[in-house]
């Protein structure tokens, strides 16, 4: 970068100095290398295609110190903040990125779950690839480098071959909201063994309103014939900046399903890369974002069909009210040789206000033969005829609007098999919908 580093970059470099050494030579080297890569390139700018609709100029002028670990470990957090119906398995809770043993319960039949900090002490070597080799310079973006340089904790989850973990794991990221202008970073490593089954609910909440930045980078490997059900519920405070990036590798005959509900945050970026690595691998993704005020949420989905007879089905819905802005990019790549691939992508959006904006961009790149691919994206408004129909039966305008808005999103949530959780997500969405008509 030719210019002086931005306040954002300077603060990150300072934060790295404040981070205690891990005591593992390769890890400390990797952190340094990632910090340098981040500091050299800075935050992505407007000419970077991947960030075209999510400008970071304002963010680059903000300075986030590393969240204070001692405070994060001491702050009182009410478990009611993250209680979820239908989610009763193991739970791992992070407050401002720090693992909270007192709020977590890791013991659960069939899974091996440990905080990253503990796993690094006990068995660092198996983590070397994920934490050191994976994100070399040039193979990662700014926030992955930032996360790799600064993440002090996270978790490692392993589900052994053939194991069926019957109860969902609840992963909770709490922003304390009491440490203004601080950042936290969490790193997740998940491996679901051959023929194993696991369900994970990742949940973002805030305990206060102070402005914080959080980043989460996750690597998921799903071995042959494995099954993974992933739910993301993002209900962070309106002052939160959140950047999440996940990679899912799906081996032969394995299937992963994602249901995402994006409600909170000021600036949210969710990037997910799914590689259908083995024959017959399958990835279904469903998601809804509901934005209001000046919220900005950007979902980036990249699905790569790399083997034969792979299937992907993506169904995403967006709602933007107020002056909010929603961004959706769904890219499907069918690689050479991935014959028989079947890819579907649908992204429909609803503008509830004349001041809101939605940018949607489905992309399809096909290098194989005998491929079935369908994609479509729309941006529209609530149907006036339907609104009048409901009102003519006595349903007040505000209720009619939220009824239709919820109906619009229903397709994305109805396939979630956990009924109690599905209902709860629906209720959260309804509570989040605007009740007053926007002009």
């Amino acid at each position: 970068m030719s210019n002086a580093p931005s306040p954002f970059v300077r603060a990150a470099v300072d934060a790295a100095e404040a981070l205690p050494a891990s005591g593992i030579a390769w890890l400390d080297a990797a952190r340094r290398e990632n910090l340098e890569a981040f500091a050299d390139a800075g935050l992505p700018e407007g000419r970077n295609e991947a960030w075209k609709y999510t400008p970071l100029r304002a963010l680059s002028q903000r300075a986030f110190a590393l969240a204070d670990r001692a405070l994060a470990l001491a702050v009182a957090v009410d478990p009611a903040l993250y209680a979820l119906p239908g989610v009763d398995g193991a739970r791992i809770v992070f407050v401002d990125g720090a693992y909270r043993a007192d709020l977590s319960s890791l013991d659960e039949d069939g899974i091996e779950l440990a905080p990253l900090s503990a796993a690094l002490i006990a068995h660092p070597e198996p983590l070397r690839f994920a934490l050191a080799n994976r994100y070399r310079r040039g193979a990662a973006d700014a926030f992955m480098h930032l996360n790799a340089a600064l993440a002090a904790d996270g978790f490692v989850l392993r589900v052994a071959d053939g194991t069926i973990a019957s109860r969902p794991l609840h992963v909770v990221h709490v922003s304390s909201g009491s440490q203004a202008d601080t950042a936290w970073h969490v790193r997740l490593v998940i491996e679901v063994g051959k023929g194993a089954t696991a369900d994970i609910v990742e949940h973002f909440v805030s305990a206060g309103d102070a402005a914080q930045l959080g980043t989460v980078v996750s690597d998921v490997v799903l071995r042959e014939g494995g099954r993974l059900g992933l739910v993301v519920l993002q209900d962070a405070s309106a002052a939160t900046t959140l950047v999440r990036r996940g990679h899912i590798r799906i081996d032969a005959g394995a299937a992963a399903t994602l249901h995402a509900l994006e409600l909170g945050g000021a600036l949210v970026r969710h990037e997910l890369h799914a590689d259908l690595e083995g024959d017959g691998a399958r990835f279904d993704s469903r998601g809804v974002f509901a934005l209001a005020g000046r919220q900005h949420a950007d979902t980036q989905l990249e699905i790569r069909h790399k083997a034969r007879d792979t299937v992907s089905d993506a169904l995403w819905r967006g709602i933007a009210d107020g002056r909010s802005r929603g961004v959706f990019r769904g890219a499907i790549v069918v690689a050479e040789g991935a014959d028989g691939a079947d890819a579907t992508l649908s992204n429909k959006n609803l503008l509830l206000s004349g001041m809101a904006e939605i940018d949607t961009k489905p992309e399809l790149e096909i290098y194989a033969d005998e491929v079935k691919a369908a994609h479509g994206a729309t941006v529209g408004q609530l149907d006036e005829r339907s609104l009048f129909y409901l009102r003519s039966r006595g349903i007040p305008l505000a209720d009619a609007r939220s009824l239709l808005t919820l109906a619009f999103c229903r397709a994305a949530l109805e396939s979630l098999p956990n009924g109690a959780l599905r209902e709860h997500l629906g209720e959260l969405l309804v509570a989040h919908l605007p009740t007053e008509p926007a002009e």
Binding site: F388, S392, G394, I395, P396, L403, L406, R410, A411
Partner: protein, 263 residues
């Protein structure tokens, strides 16, 4: 005492004047049939009474049981007891029929300061009405009108009417597109709901519905006004002779106003 009194109603749609001084009085318990050629303003009347956006009243008044109907929002009109059975009921994917109907009924009850029905009492009510209307309860589990046949949609309108128990029901060409069996079912549903307190305005293009629902009055709507009123004999005359003869008694009607003869 009247139920509905429309006085010299003028209304525009997209800048074009459709209703040009329509007057009509309906008393409790009466069934009025409104017939008329295409473009006469039949559907406009239903939409204006139900309060649809885009239908601009430029002159005249509508009194409904002592209230200024035109001052009310569509949902307030519904709660006051006005029901419009749509000519083209909309499909609303993602909204369950039962959920919708309960939300509607309870919203109306809330408006009126009545207690809302819990799901047990609501289901009991629905079961009673299903029996009377001869509607399969399978319709209840589907999304509102989604994938319904034309006949199912119209039967669903009448079923909604039965559950909501309005004071005034306006049927906007409910008979169009129905085969004879569906027509009989719709008529049977309407007849089951007839009572001394409930009035009906039945807008239709064809006389045959009136074979099954006996009207107290038949009106001809042409050129945006009621130009002729009578009893059932008037409907039979229209069926036999069309509308052209009205030009003799109503020289102000243009040929185009009378062009849409019943099929």
């Amino acid at each position: 005492m009247h139920m509905l009194k429309i006085d010299n109603l003028h209304a525009r749609v997209e800048g074009k004047e459709i209703l040009k001084g329509l007057s009509l009085t309906v008393k409790p318990g009466e069934v009025h049939a409104i017939m008329g050629p295409n473009g006469a303003g039949k559907s406009t009347l239903g939409n204006v009474l139900a309060g649809r956006d885009g239908y601009e009243v430029t002159q005249g008044a509508v009194d409904f049981a002592g209230r200024d109907l035109l001052a009310l929002d569509p949902e307030e009109r519904a709660a006051a007891g006005v029901f419009l059975a749509f000519q083209y009921p909309v499909e609303i994917p993602g909204v369950n029929n039962t959920y919708f109907l309960r939300a509607a009924l309870n919203a109306q009850r809330k408006f009126r300061g009545e207690e809302e029905l819990d799901s047990m009492r609501f289901l009991k009510l629905v079961r009673e009405k299903l029996k009377v209307m001869q509607v399969s309860d399978e319709l209840l589990h589907r999304a509102v009108n989604e994938g319904f046949s034309g006949g199912e949609k119209k039967r669903n309108e009448i079923f909604q009417m039965a559950v909501l128990e309005p004071k005034l029901a306006i049927l906007d060409e409910t008979d169009s597109g129905l085969d004879i069996d569906a027509l009989k079912q719709v008529a049977g549903g309407v007849n089951a709901l007839r009572s001394p307190e409930r009035s009906f305005v039945i807008v239709t293009h064809y006389q045959r519905l009136l074979d099954y629902i006996e009207p107290d009055f038949v009106h001809v709507l042409a050129g945006g006004r009621i130009v002729e009123s009578g009893d059932k004999e008037l409907a039979i005359k229209l069926e036999e002779q069309g509308y052209a003869w009205l030009a003799e008694t109503h020289p102000e009607l243009r040929k185009a106003d009378l062009a849409g003869a019943p099929a």
